[in-house]
Symmetry: D2
Subunit: 284 residues, 4 copies
């Protein structure tokens, strides 16, 4: 029986001795470091550390580990997260009519590539209910056209709570979420179909085609109150030419949307992402 | 002795029989088609054709070929260009302080990769004069800080005329050209250090770094009156991460700037580009 | 009601006047050329032409078009194919245990991205039967371990005939087909999990990992009697590093396998591929 | 005045507590860690660590640092290298007739991108002497056709010693070096014009063209006794099509050769590469 990995992420003001302090503590815990990556953002004066370690003894007292590290966090004036590789989070996926990102994510879950459960799929269209059934997820069609946004979002927040959702993935969900919703929601990852910051907002493929770009992109990012301005996690591009119509851009774009979103979700699930200053540091 | 290729580019309203009409004419001229590529822009209702052909007989009467084809152009209500592979144009390169694009272009000319002559290099800084000397080009340092823009541009236009320049390449020329200059100048290709339309204007690498993008780009485009809005010819990208400082973006960017610019210039020299509707069709 | 496109592919010895001859014939047929691309392989002395055209009148007499063009083919000593965009071929997919390429292809068919029908899925393992059901394809599990290869292949050939299969796609089918099978079978496209010709044969990811390559690849190719030596249609690569274990190479590889295979199948279905001299010319 | 960085690379059998042990030592030295990256090769049971750190006090006693760390190395049964960012090594570049990699490297040195000096250029052809002059390097034309290989290599080894060369870069040097030469020489980086292990040996572009590949590559690697089998540092690829002749492959290849080689040399100079088991781990 393999022991779970313990993933410690720490952010604090930079100063000498930090790596030593963190790793000594792990060593004293009887831990063995599997991966360890540290970065100093000179500009921000911040130290970022991700250490993945395991314990050889059979019992891990999670509460105690947390309590112990809190002391260090206070000392270094830092923020931290401790996660465990055996904790498989519940993820809610929001969709509209397009199915490619949804199917791709669910397929990767089934194949063991993404360590998450998907008990809940929410859509403002009824089209993708069958896919939810195929993958044993509850599907909630919430018609947004005949109800007020606050009402709709209240229902969604209740569902997220009921299903104990820790991460929301917007897999081509063509609705804008309100600031108040975002404040009440856990992490949200979105896929935008352009290489942000180019073509923010609606119809990026149409505008890319009109502009005559020679490559199109897809950007996976955390959702914040500023639309399409959230911290970027992953970006992919693909070449296009004058022979490509808008429909070809949409078709080619689906492949990079799927891949960018899946990579971003995987990085999030593996606790490889730090968010600060409206940016991410991705430790891969 | 190899005969030069004749490159015929035609744009006209789409209708049946155009390829047949063009190629029959070439066939009647005793021509042999080496490459031929046609594209219909359904949206614009336009037919685009590029045919590269040669004649087996020794003499090519260029004036006559032109005159002959003009009749067809009138019939199809089209515009056309006829170029010859043995005509090597004079190209003027404008630079400021950075040398990488200049050296790269000159090196490719020397190695026979770019079929052009570079008799003239213009700069608003004196730094790169030695490079010009190494490659036997005249270097004109035109101080733009102590003179009016109209004065400066008048001098430049005179130089372009004196040196019989057919194409201007802005190889990291950090000055904005006025509308009146552009009206009086032949084709101008610029390299912008971002994947346009993202990060138009000044300091794209700094802004890309601040935005936390995961890839940076370079865009070679024709210069028009709207800054950074000209028809895009070529775009390249390279991955970056949180470990890259602005200086690293600048360093990595140099490689894709060089490549995007060189490719664009080559496509232009080979008469592979059509420009219309603020876009390019690149027949490669 | 849109008229179907007619796709004419011609290969013949190069000589002057060929494009004119082909397009005049189309013009005389009352055809309108939508796309047209011609290439001369100087080395082989061959002319390759692909013309996609349509007729404005309602009736297309396919037999007559074929008969008419045969005369030209004889005159130019050429080989040709005429296909119609409204003819949707039956495709048989062969799989073993891995599902990613199969699901990807079927999803693209359902979304209208690949114009083909998949009535038949054959496997040497029973694992993927459910997927076949989901997509309304017949699934035949043919145990290859307890029967002779000739027997197995005879059964497969009968199935291909019964289901009127025009193209076979090996979507991670981990069996080698005999020469006699290949002789009796229509076109076969395979996906090999390396950038051929590197890592021909078994376990390419393991060998790539051992060799310490910095990128891995996937190659879609037509199957010929020489294993992994068939004409290459499409190749994709993805970066890897020392942090990637063999399992990571396999995971990353799945994404490029899916994309390379889907692109190759699409190019085949659109009749964009010429095969000659153990190579392909892909007119995209 | 900025203090130089100290780069400590360590390889040893994996065991708990190693990161803590290394970083505690640095902390005790009064060091401040700038970058730190650790990797465990589970398969080989090896721990790899690269720590870049600086000291705030003005004096660094290099001999003492080395002596101090040796004690730890013995304790952990490890091998280590300590380098300093202010030590600029002498690099010898070997060329034949092609100039693109040579010019590219020298340009990057001049621009401060590669922290090295190039006092010595050796060639088996006289062609590139002028470039050496332009960049103030001594150029030795060593005719290999009229002398025995042992004689030639003896002369080269003497030159390497005389010029105090720490790294040799084969920038399109079209000669094979003997095993005895390699034994007597410091690190050697070569650029091979294929995505190894495909197209080992002579004329890779010609063979790639004949095979009909859809991408070509370039591989920078350390040179070992097995030709083209040395540890791979960096690989780049570029797309090609049936429209590309061998000459186009060579042209396109030059761009990726330059970039792959420059990246590899930079990684070496920054002490970011570990070599073991005929592979590299590149900490970037």
């Amino acid at each position: 029986m393999e022991q779970p990995s313990i993933i410690l992420r720490t952010v604090c003001p930079d100063r000498p001795g930090l790596v030593s302090q963190l790793t000594s503590w792990i060593s004293n815990c009887g831990g063995n470091i599997k991966h360890s990556d540290h970065h100093t953002d000179q500009d921000a004066g911040l130290f970022l550390s991700r250490i993945e370690w395991s314990k050889s003894d059979l019992l891990i007292n999670k509460a105690e580990i947390n309590k112990e590290f809190e002391k260090i966090a206070i000392d270094i004036n830092g923020q931290f997260n401790i996660n465990y590789s055996d904790e498989i989070p519940n993820v809610g996926i929001f969709v509209s009519k397009q199915n490619h990102c949804l199917i791709d994510l669910l397929w990767r879950v089934r194949n063991g590539e993404l360590k998450m459960k998907v008990p809940l799929i929410i859509s403002n269209h009824p089209d993708l209910e069958d896919i939810a059934k195929d993958f044993d997820a509850k599907f909630f069609y919430i018609n947004t056209s005949n109800r007020s946004k606050p009402n709709v979002e209240k229902q969604i927040l209740t569902l997220l709570k009921d299903f104990d959702i820790e991460l929301v993935v917007l897999a081509k969900y063509m609705q804008i979420l309100s600031d108040s919703f975002l404040k009440n929601c856990s992490s949200i990852i979105n896929i935008h179909h352009s290489f942000l910051p180019a073509f923010k907002g609606a119809q990026p493929y149409h505008r890319a085609w009109k502009r005559g770009v020679k490559l199109i992109g897809a950007t996976a990012h955390y959702v914040t109150e500023d639309l399409d301005e959230g911290p970027i996690i992953e970006q992919c591009t693909v070449n296009v030419s004058h022979r490509d119509e808008v429909a070809d851009l949409i078709r080619k774009g689906r492949d990079i949307e799927r891949i960018a979103l899946a990579r971003a979700v995987r990085l999030h699930l593996n606790h490889q992402i730090f968010v600060y200053d409206s940016k991410t540091a991705v430790f891969d």
